[in-house]
Symmetry: C2
Subunit: 336 residues, 2 copies
């Protein structure tokens, strides 16, 4: 990130959280131009000192007056904060890129992955004289679609069966700390501390903690649904720190052989193919942690489907980065 | 296990391994009748002292003479040991229940899950005057089929998409120790020791370490294939100690609604349903560890399929117990 007089005033809402901190890291890495940057968080964190690009900042309490003069507001402070302060920011003329689920299903709020559907936010720009809301999709959805969309463009995906292996980071920094604490406790033979999650997470896994809806799917799984593609998802939390993995089974309208699919993925922006069968080297959460690209491997013709109408793939992506902060900053870049 | 004059002479091959130890535990728990029991292992373990049912045993080296007078031999010492010594035991008149993959695809060797296909071993009995081979299916397959078979009997499964979450125990006691050691090392900021697996396992996951075949599936995945049902599987190793989990998507020939499916599973032998949506309580590896029953939950109509022709379920089972030792001992019980 670099200071520029003509550049936008940026606010980061939820700056002390896992994604908030990653916003700063990604803004800096990508040399995002800015005139000023506001560090916003809850009252509890207000007054904390942050260093950003060799300059000291004081975290300010998020209030209704926080958005005066703010061009771009990056939100990651949970759905209820977004619901309350997002419209206030828009009212003040800010363009809000929101990482919560608050506006994902709201009409006229574009839900954007820059590599997938940049056209959804066409016309929304800094300097257009009014505020706007843009929603960042759910992390698992982003990571899945980064790989599925290039294939969908070629062969039209008609149905997807997704099983996720989701990291602690999706539940925030406190969940990552709880996983570490629990692991130490279990190794010492002590009962694990369960504050964030209701059950032991260390050396265990469980169905995603999102509320279960009447149809039996949880909210996390329903976020992966799409109006054009039939999707069934099973979302599972595994004891991994910060990158998600997903096993994705795809059915296509048109035939697509695995070599063509591999070539398409090799050329897809934001995607890296790791698919070395001989040395059993495929994507892992650890290998993609702190990386921008989503990794795809285990690309193979689905033997349970006829001809070349099915593929299985295994995808890993950094939940905090492409699954949240990076995607939001990429959206912000498109606003300039 | 209890001593009886008329009961069979039993041998446990690979008695010092994770499954070998579990054989003893299950034999004891189930009060399996025996006249004598031989503790067999490699030369390296020979001479070790074991206590079983308050009696001291010395581990003997497995040799060609080990099976004289043995009625039932429970093998879990790896495929190459089974391939060499299985036929020798049969030659001596033993009935071999083998937990390796050595004989799973061999013609005339029944591959048996007692709750699923007991008829496959009809006619094989202790006292029939000759030896025989019976194969224990792969652990992931057993756990999946315990839940899928009762549903298949009602509505005929036509296709399954399976993603596994496999525990360390599947690779033996040394792998469990490596996971624990690595976890301690990572928490101390040290590089993890990678002897059993080629990469970091602590706080990570990876595609199953079985060799990858030409079609892109690994051997573990192909073990889940069936001649009657189309199966595509993705097998992933997760940092969990001893129970496997599996996300299973089912397609049915006949309609099957989720309430009927739940009732069928509640009444299925060896299956317990844990499916409490309100309190988000579903099967976990930890909860089924050291348990005999396979747990099934997340039972829901697949929204990506028409009508009631699809279901998603989530299954957990103790890999060492029902996935290996218990299933083999159940087979042995049917031999009496």
């Amino acid at each position: 990130m670099s200071y520029q007089e003509s550049a936008p005033c940026v606010a980061v809402v939820g700056v002390t959280g896992a994604v908030g901190q990653e916003f700063l890291s990604v803004l800096s890495d990508r040399d995002f131009p800015y005139r000023s940057i506001k560090m916003l968080a809850s009252k509890r964190s207000a007054g904390k000192q942050l260093s950003f690009q060799d300059k000291a900042y004081t975290v300010e309490e998020l209030t209704e007056d926080s958005f005066d003069g703010v061009d771009i507001a990056l939100f990651s402070a949970g759905g209820s904060i977004s619901k309350k302060f997002g419209p206030i920011a828009v009212e003040k003329g800010s363009i809000v890129v929101d990482n919560s689920s608050a506006f994902r299903m709201v009409e006229n709020v574009p839900l954007v992955i820059p590599e997938v559907n940049p056209e959804a936010m066409s016309g929304i720009k800094v300097g257009m004289g009014k505020g706007a809301l843009i929603a960042n999709p759910n992390c698992s959805t982003i990571i899945c679609l980064m790989a599925a969309t290039p294939l969908h463009r070629r062969a039209k995906v008609t149905r997807m069966v997704v099983s996720t292996y989701q990291a602690a980071s999706g539940a925030g920094a406190a969940a990552m700390e709880e996983l570490e604490l629990q692991t130490r406790e279990v190794l010492e033979g002590k009962p694990p501390t369960c504050k964030i999650f209701s059950q032991q997470y260390a050396f265990n896994l469980f169905s995603h903690n999102a509320p279960v809806l009447e149809n039996g799917y949880n909210e996390e799984e329903m976020k992966m649904n799409d109006k054009d593609v039939r999707v069934t998802a099973t979302c599972i939390r595994v004891p991994v720190m910060r990158a998600h993995a997903e096993s994705v089974n795809l059915q296509f309208e048109k035939p697509l052989d695995e070599d063509t699919a591999r070539d398409i993925l090799k050329n897809a922006p934001g995607v890296v193919v790791i698919d070395d069968r001989a040395s059993n080297h495929f994507p892992t959460p650890l290998e993609v942690s702190n990386k921008d690209d989503v990794a795809v491997g285990r690309i193979r013709r689905d033997v349970s489907q006829d001809g070349n109408h099915g593929l299985d793939i295994f995808v890993c992506g950094d939940q905090v980065r492409k699954g949240a902060a990076l995607n939001a900053v990429q959206i912000a870049e498109m606003l300039l």
